[in-house]
Symmetry: C2
Subunit: 332 residues, 2 copies
Amino acid sequence: MRIRVAVDAMGGDYMPDCNVDGALKAISETEDVEVTLVGKEEQILPLLEGKEYPKDRLKILNASETILTGESPVSAIQRKKDSSMVVGLKLLSDGQADAFISAGSTGALLVGGQTIAGRIPGIKRSPLAVLLPTTKGTSVILDAGANVDAKPENLVQFAVMGSLYAKEVLKIEDPSVGLVNIGTEEEKGNELTRTTFPLLKECPDIRFIGNAEARDIPFGAADVYVCEAFTGNVVLKMYEGVAKALLSQIKETLMSSLRGKIGGAIIKPSLSGLKKRFDSSENGGAPMLGLKGLVIKAHGNSTADQIRNAILQCIDFTRSDMKTKITEKLGR
Amino acid sequence: MRIRVAVDAMGGDYMPDCNVDGALKAISETEDVEVTLVGKEEQILPLLEGKEYPKDRLKILNASETILTGESPVSAIQRKKDSSMVVGLKLLSDGQADAFISAGSTGALLVGGQTIAGRIPGIKRSPLAVLLPTTKGTSVILDAGANVDAKPENLVQFAVMGSLYAKEVLKIEDPSVGLVNIGTEEEKGNELTRTTFPLLKECPDIRFIGNAEARDIPFGAADVYVCEAFTGNVVLKMYEGVAKALLSQIKETLMSSLRGKIGGAIIKPSLSGLKKRFDSSENGGAPMLGLKGLVIKAHGNSTADQIRNAILQCIDFTRSDMKTKITEKLGR
């Protein structure tokens, strides 16, 4: 089965160029995927001119509007009916695409994903599952999307969906689940974590290992970290901020002495890969879990390679049939 | 005026040795301070044997019990009346000490600080203010203590007290205040931050600069960061965790090649200071703000130097008369 991926050509910092290039890269690498670029035809067509590619696996669907990152998500999705995001999500809900990828407004995509693509019946909230680099490999944290002030029962659903994602797509065997908290003991935390803990403990569909303290997250204390979105966003952004600040300080310290400059020049090649590995934006994209179709949020500053990664990621995700598996566990 | 500091001799990973040594260091450096070591006399006395120090500025107050870190804070404070922590806090509430420092159970100290030392009338909750290293210098985050599920009016008090602390003790002129949030726009965040934002905006006693995203915290986006304690703890522990994980990965990467080993040996001296700077535990201690007396939480793994720092810190704090200044702004 060929996977049909709709790509928001107008989302992200380097649109439409990187989005178009990413699509070209993906379809040239495997015959298993076909892409529909959704967006302003007059901007997309010139980028394809003179390029060789399998024409039957790259389509363009014109959409005259673009949702900007500053706009209010709810009203943007409601008003801009002919935006690349709304048109792309409709392809998904109409069954004409298996997946939709956007590097555009996260807020609008989260709203549009739930309202246009729609949740699987029984799923109360759809979390954004983001991959985190750790010293052991990769973990996944959810929700890192919009479900702030989530309820305990939402977090339990996140845990089940996150476990399925880790197992079926990331191929982590028997993934462990940790509740992001500020202490390891059961009674630690705020009202939400204290109420959620016993529910996770009793949940038969996950391997719950208890609370995970933030300081252990970068060391891969669990495969799946569960939290509401405020905490998830703080964790992700601290990851980004501390790593960047530390690396910039290292650079500055080294450049301030001749000895440092010499040493720095020697170690530079060893460290360049590391910097990339600790930058969570390097991953292809983050899926919204629990929707009827696959919606992937690509990082706002996605390059062509990252868009390509996000497209190829849709193949495994769709073939692992997450929708059926989530429905079996949580659907009604 | 000589500042009278009570030190919990039985708190912390290296007690009582480091606590006693830290006290000796502090009193040998300045005549402005006198210390009462509170704890088990039979363990403290042998450590002082044969040492030369100004005897009139170092006392021992026997306390037969010790509160352990695993104990339930509330019941420990209630039951262990003769613990070093309870006895030390009573010195403070009786006016026989100006400050109390403990590297012991954070939870117990936070409970004991509020119930034994007591809050300034008008202060609803007492936050723990922790210093954060940034690329620009030092910022302070509060609450990083126990006030999870705090209310908007609590956060406003935290902001006012944090500003006073930054100005009067850290000597930051006209300190800026940021609300820790997951986006910069006013309407971003969870119910707590959305309700708190307008209150901070209207507060005449602070220079509020809006929301501070977690990723900008390590770059010193604000001098004072305000949040409830769950978020504060996640920020602090991510700081610690990411920095540690990244540095360990750098080391591992360098050690895996000859080139890396050579470069690593050359840069080692430049980087050792940096590692220390990014470790927030290097700071002396964190004050609880809004109490009638000064209560300082020293890091659990405090060395003698850190205990010394915490003791010396009490001089500036007490002389700046924070209590009067907080009472002027928030007391009733």
